[in-house]
Subunit: 215 residues, 2 copies
Amino acid sequence: MELIPKETILSWDRFYRGNFINSLSGYKSVSLIATVDKKGNPNLAIFSNLVHLGADPALIAFVNRPREAAPHTLQNIEATGLYTINHIHPDMVLRAHQTSAKYSTDVNEFEAAALKPEYVEGFSVPFVKESRCSYAMKLIEVIPIKHNNTFLVIGELQQVRLDTTIIRSDGFLQLDKIETVASLGIDAYYKPQPLARYSYAKPGTIATNLDEFTV
Amino acid sequence: MELIPKETILSWDRFYRGNFINSLSGYKSVSLIATVDKKGNPNLAIFSNLVHLGADPALIAFVNRPREAAPHTLQNIEATGLYTINHIHPDMVLRAHQTSAKYSTDVNEFEAAALKPEYVEGFSVPFVKESRCSYAMKLIEVIPIKHNNTFLVIGELQQVRLDTTIIRSDGFLQLDKIETVASLGIDAYYKPQPLARYSYAKPGTIATNLDEFTV
């Protein structure tokens, strides 16, 4: 084990440091966020910094980079209050990565990345048809992070679109069955394999591995 | 594909709904957060909602549940301004899970979970000795999330303690080499396997899989 002090990290060039810091916090739940502008024109972009805030109410948040770096998704969400978040599986991961390219406002990233929108009744923003697990969100709050001009975008769950065979008897979603990928750093994608599912931990007893947790 | 409306999700019992919503947002970078109180007594707890905020300055945040549900870590961080975040690998995942038990304030979770503290010069909070990748943080801001009484705890990177053989030539940390685990939902742990690492995406060209990305 080696110790790397802050001064060393600050001395690195920005690309090397960016790769290092981005991977340090670990695996991320990378997903495609779809939005539409006021005229209904769709936008699609890949986001990796999603975070579960709570189940009751069902709140999920994501980090949006500074406006000048990533303007379209946030602008559309502020305009309409709605968006969808779509899991990615290996067959679509290269196309999902392609949405990180800096397309101009008039480009429909669904078309540019060869992914299909899927509209459902009563919700103006499409899901990504290829995705095997998607959810529709309503904006609750945009919290500006003043230290680096990023934003925490908090939404409330509206509906879920998924292959229901992955729902276990206790509500757990066994995402490996639909091959949902995770990301690491800026550009790496991983396929998680099940390791263990443990019982509720209590002082003085050792949790046990729940049965039936198999690939 | 099935659509599950919000009304159905709200009708579920809270344990089923909790498992469902917690897994919906995807894989999480579960880690052990170590703190000390003002007297130097250590505390250790598992957290799964970590998020990368930016590389310059190097900011990483985590979600702390409401104070009544998870008081000790946040209280210690507010008292000392310092904490460490420690990756988990398969040999220590059951012990790490055990730190989620509700121990009273006077219990040292390092001892309760059979994990060892490792102190380094100039930093009052220990790392987890068993961890193969850890980082020391300084508190920057605690942002209350008013909608469910959780908190976004933002810290700035101070130093990193890791097995440097996982650092790739461009700064990327190949975490599968040290078997860092990811979590899913409330109680599941996964081992991610490398899938692809893609070049920077640009409009009009297709990204390529970077070479050398192997297990």
